[in-house]
């Protein structure tokens, strides 16, 4: 077969070589550094600093209590407030987070999953207050609950009501915020949990299939919402395998959308993705080596055609990034973009015997997994059986064994080790962040209209339990929870109160612990 048949040029179906004909000659990738820590005000200062330094989009990291739907003053939040990200307990915190950042101009990505619909409602309410035109808002909500059950384990509710919330946001975005990506279907965390590249590819795309099926079930037409599905992959260390993974992902998704779901709009066929370099590859030992690892991983993401990129900081095996380390990470992308010349040509390795074979192998391996999960009755059934979780646990243990035996080399850890290394400067989040947030929350609960809070929470409970929503709008299904959520956040009901109301109705999810 002639190679030209196998390999259409960039911008043509199935987009193996890239989704745009001109790729980065037309537009560079978005440089989007994930950050958040301490308090919303402190985080806002870092965002404005990064924007001044040439970053082109914001990416919000939330702390663990926020990710789990607890307020800063909840007993389980003790010791965790502001540690892994910015704490958000109410609309007041989101107001502080985006202070003086025009949301109709700066695109915002939010890494939040179980309570994604609530946090997104807070973002939308801040945009309203800024008098931003909602149809112009751009950004991405991670909102990928399936990979939480599979890998990252930040789940609150059981799969069915969680999928309902995700579908509510997809429907709302389709009707009201056409430039916003309501979901970022993520392989990143699957890989960080120890999966292989094939597993990352397969489970991510199979999750994507699940979301499409739920949105279709809701009554949306595939070409209405599919163009706004976005993806998020890891950029790991095996250089060519990673480039091949992105190419295989595009080809596989394009075929799935056209052939399995009958999408006609070519925007539905195009897989757009964000990439982040592999946090799990960073070492505590000899941390400056991490700059080199990150550069090479970022290069693979760029050669693989990423639409946006986060490069990790050298100190991330130690702590959240300090300002100097975060700046160096951003500079790494800028050097790749403006000094190396790689942005001038799309898919430069396309056509190489080796890369094409790798791409084909990854695609075939992913298709096998997808077929197996289809056979189990879909991803939720597979998760309930523990299938993807078990596959990942096995892969991660095997990889660790290889490190132990020296079959896999980690420079500075199991080879070329030095003794008596000196600690590097790191960011420390002290207890005062927690105290500040708790005090802010105490004042909020005293000064807001608590009657209004009760009223909106009751409406939300009833809507979650299945009542049609009284204020329903003609463009949304009558049980879409986004409108009651918007009312609740506008009344300054807290994240913990809102998630608490939903917990009462939906119940919570517990994982069976197994080794």
């Amino acid at each position: 077969m002639a190679r030209s048949l196998l390999l259409p040029p960039p911008g043509e179906f199935p987009y193996t070589r890239g989704i745009h004909q001109s790729m980065y000659r037309g537009r560079l990738w978005t440089m989007r550094q994930f950050s958040g820590f301490s308090t919303p005000a402190e985080t806002n200062r870092r965002y404005r600093y990064l924007l001044d330094q040439g970053q082109t989009g914001i990416s919000v990291a939330f702390d663990l209590p926020t990710l789990m739907g607890y307020d800063a003053d909840h007993e389980l939040a003790h010791g965790e407030v502001g540690k892994c990200g910015a704490p958000v307990s109410s609309l007041a915190d989101v107001e502080a987070l985006f202070e003086a950042i025009p949301l109709d101009k700066v695109s915002v990505s939010m890494t939040i999953n179980s309570p994604a619909a609530v946090i997104w409602a807070m973002y939308l309410a801040v945009a309203e207050n800024q008098r931003a035109d909602t149809s112009r808002l751009s950004g991405t909500l991670q909102n990928d609950i399936l990979k939480e059950y599979i890998a990252q384990k930040e789940f609150i509710f059981p799969p069915q009501p969680s999928m309902r919330l995700v579908t509510d946001t997809i429907e709302f975005a389709t009707r009201r915020t056409p430039r916003f990506n309501p979901i970022s279907i993520s392989g990143y965390h699957i890989r960080e949990a120890g999966s292989t590249a094939v597993q990352e590819l397969a489970f991510t795309l199979r999750d994507g299939i699940e979301y499409v099926e739920w949105a279709l079930e809701r009554g949306l037409a595939v070409d209405e919402f599919a163009p706004r599905l976005s993806f998020f992959f890891n950029a790991h260390s095996d250089f060519f395998e990673e480039i091949a993974k992105y190419r295989a992902a595009r080809r596989l998704w394009a075929c799935l959308m056209r052939d399995r779901f009958g999408a006609h709009d070519e925007r539905s066929w195009k897989l757009r993705f964000h990439a982040q370099t592999a946090g799990c590859s960073l070492t505590w030992q000899q941390p400056y080596n991490n700059v080199v690892r990150t550069s090479l991983q970022a290069m693979a993401a760029v050669l693989g055609g990423a639409q946006s990129l986060h490069t990790n900081s050298l100190d991330e095996a130690w702590a959240l990034p300090g300002e100097r380390a975060a700046t160096l990470a951003l500079r790494t992308q800028q050097v790749i973009a403006f000094e190396t010349g790689v942005a001038a040509v799309p898919d430069p390795f396309g056509g190489s015997e080796y890369l094409e074979r790798l791409t084909g192998d990854l695609e075939a391996g992913a298709r096998d997994y997808i077929r197996a999960i289809d056979g189990m009755g879909g991803m939720i059934a597979a998760i309930e059986k523990g299938f993807p979780q078990g596959e990942i646990a096995r892969a991660s243990f095997e990889f660790q064994q290889k490190i132990e035996k020296g079959e896999a080399v980690v420079v500075g850890v199991n080879r070329y080790r030095v003794d008596g290394e000196r600690a590097i400067e790191t960011l420390r989040i002290d207890q005062s962040a927690e105290d500040t947030q708790i005090e802010k929350l105490r004042l909020l609960r005293k000064t807001r209209n608590n009657g209004e809070v009760e009223r909106t929470l009751n409406l939300l409970r009833r809507a979650a339990a299945g009542s049609a929503i009284p204020v329903s709008a003609p463009d949304l299904s009558s049980r879409n929870l986004m409108l009651p959520l918007l009312d609740a956040v506008r009344s300054y009901a807290t994240l913990g109160e809102i998630c608490g109301a939903l917990r009462e109705v939906f119940g919570t999810y517990q994982e069976r612990p197994n080794i």
Binding site: L76, E80, E154, W318
Partner: protein, 139 residues
């Protein structure tokens, strides 16, 4: 003399769900012949100490990556003392800065393992801790 296998509780306290490390350690300890009880995610110090009591373990391994160790670990030590279980040894693994590691050891933690520690080192530390534990099972 009949010897009993070492019993160890592997626990993941706090809100963090990143359990890759905890699960690898649990499996490595089991492969080394120990009886391993893995608590699963989001255990409070109270739940962990209760499980250690119920399961009659000699060693508790705590995996903490979120930076909450200074709030969680001292509470586990305190509860062990309150319940007359100070003979149970506590080992911590995770992202623990040097100065915090020294402080936790001063408070009574047997060993702290930072990223990059080998499974072999960890397994032998658990074995050693079990030998020095002072619990009914060890007597």
């Amino acid at each position: 003399m009949k010897t009993f296998p070492i019993r160890v509780l592997v626990a993941k306290p706090g809100l963090d769900g990143h359990d890759r490390g905890a699960r690898i350690i649990a499996r490595a300890l089991r492969d080394a012949g120990m009886e391993v009880i893995y608590t699963g995610l989001r255990q409070t110090p109270e739940m962990i100490v209760n499980a250690a009591l119920q399961e009659d373990v000699q060693v508790i391994g705590l995996s903490i990556l979120s930076g909450a160790h200074n709030a969680i670990v001292p509470r586990v030590l305190e509860l062990l003392r309150e319940k007359d279980m100070a003979g149970v040894k506590v080992i911590v693994g995770g992202i623990i800065p040097d100065e915090d590691a020294r402080e936790l050891e001063r408070q009574g933690v047997t060993a702290v393992f930072q990223p990059g520690a080998s499974l072999e080192t960890i397994v032998s530390a658990v074995r050693q801790a079990a030998e020095h534990s002072n619990t009914p099972a060890a007597k």
